[in-house]
């Protein structure tokens, strides 16, 4: 994954996220803000690329003031609401990608960087992940703010997405 803009998804429109307290699971390698999901043990775990059906779950984004805490440490999570719109940078199989008009109305999966140091923990909409989908594209940012993303051909581009309830409520191992 690449995010040369170095930014996690940001709330584009809607009510503010709930700030909730959650316990982080053990052996999580992460740098906040990173997307997390609720595990079957009740702790939250860091999301990974949605390559399989068992990876399509997002609960919220961990606040960035906690640096890789140990297991069961309390962290704060901005819980995603079903009716929020989030802006998110777009990638395609590990490379920055434009946010073309044609993606509006489709669903895609997500990538989370785990190795490239400046980007660890950042999430993108991954155009290459079309089998296991986590977000619905409502619009692209350049439709509404040409100064932030100049055009659909700008790479990376940013999409405006909504996370469906099925993704937000899923509990994974």
């Amino acid at each position: 994954m690449a995010i040369t803009e170095k930014c996690s998804p940001w709330l584009w429109a809607g009510d503010a996220s709930e700030m909730v307290v959650a316990q982080i699971a053990g052996t999580q390698t992460w740098t906040a803000p990173t997307p997390v999901y609720v595990s079957t043990s009740g702790t939250v775990k860091v999301c990974v690329d949605s390559d399989t059906d068992a990876e399509v779950a997002i609960y919220g984004f961990a606040y960035a003031d906690a640096a890789a805490p140990t297991a069961n440490t309390e962290i704060y999570v901005a819980k995603i609401r079903e009716d929020q719109l989030w802006a998110i940078w777009v990638s395609n199989g590990g490379n920055d990608s434009a946010a073309a008009q044609t993606i509006v109305g489709d669903m895609y999966g997500h990538s989370v960087e785990t190795t490239a140091a400046p980007y660890v923990g950042y999430m993108t909409l991954d155009l290459a992940l079309t089998s296991y989908k986590s977000m619905y594209v409502e619009d692209i940012v350049s439709n509404l703010n040409t100064k932030l993303v100049a055009s659909t051909s700008t790479s990376p581009g940013a999409a405006i997405v909504r996370f469906p309830a099925s993704v937000l409520n899923t509990v994974l191992a």
Binding site: K6, S8, W10, L11, G14, D15, A16, S17, M19, T31, A32, P33, F61, A62, Y63, A64, D65, Y76, A78, Q84, P118, G121, K147
Partner: protein
Amino acid sequence: MPRFLKPGAMDRKTYSDQLSKTFDVMWLRAKDEVSVLAPYFHKINISEGDTFRIGDVGSSLTMPVRNEDTAKRPYAHVAPGFSKELTLLPYRLFVRVTDNMRRMERYGKVAGMVSGLPNAAKAKIEYQRVDIFNSQTFSGTAGADSLALCHDTHPHQNIEYGTWDNLGTGVATVGNLHALRLLGQKMTNEWGRPMPVTLKDWLIPPDLQRTFEEIKIAPKDPETALNTPNVLINGMQYVMSPHLTDTDAYFGFGDLTGEEKGIYEVSLMDPSVADVTDGDPDIVLHKRIKAVNAFGYGTSKNIFASAGA
């Protein structure tokens, strides 16, 4: 590199430094946005409508013809004009702070942190203005005559009298600036008669400041070895806009005023801040800014430009 989350409200976990005892000084970044383009626009405030249409009609006539008292009377007409419709668009932005954030912060900066809405709107308007110079001056068809803002062959309102020219060429040299000035002096009206426009100042990107400063103070033409005095353009001032994206293009502005400036800033609602009162006692300093406006141009015999390359 600060990493932070943007969850929709300024809360205590995003701005944890504001809660920390460890700082001796916490200062607020509050520099004003650069805004220099307003004088080049004719601003029109309106009070209704979702579109704005501007047109013009002439008052100048063809010249009297030789005609005796008993001869048939020759009658004249003014030339009709072009029209341009601009669509008004609303723009809004909100900020809000959690009550915990306000209570826990130690440096009294929260009120300042949400004070940026007017500056944000000011920045937006400057970008709306500069968009005309960045993307509509040398290309496109957004003008009332379906041409770009600057073009070699704008049609006169009286089509049989040909065209007029407000597009220069070449990089910013003394010769090319003089050529641009000359376009102004040779401007014609819809009857093809002289309507000289005197260039008053230049609009340039920061990249050209050195060139224009050299031209301004040089007693001799700095680009020849002929001891030619540096005249006419050396007395003109320049305005530098960091929002201009082309590092070579330069723009000259004439002495026309009012609607004749040709580029318009139409405002149904100037940027206005209001408190949001939706009843949540733990969301405080909840504010919005809103503006409804449109920017565009009809035709302008007041602007002369060269793409610079």
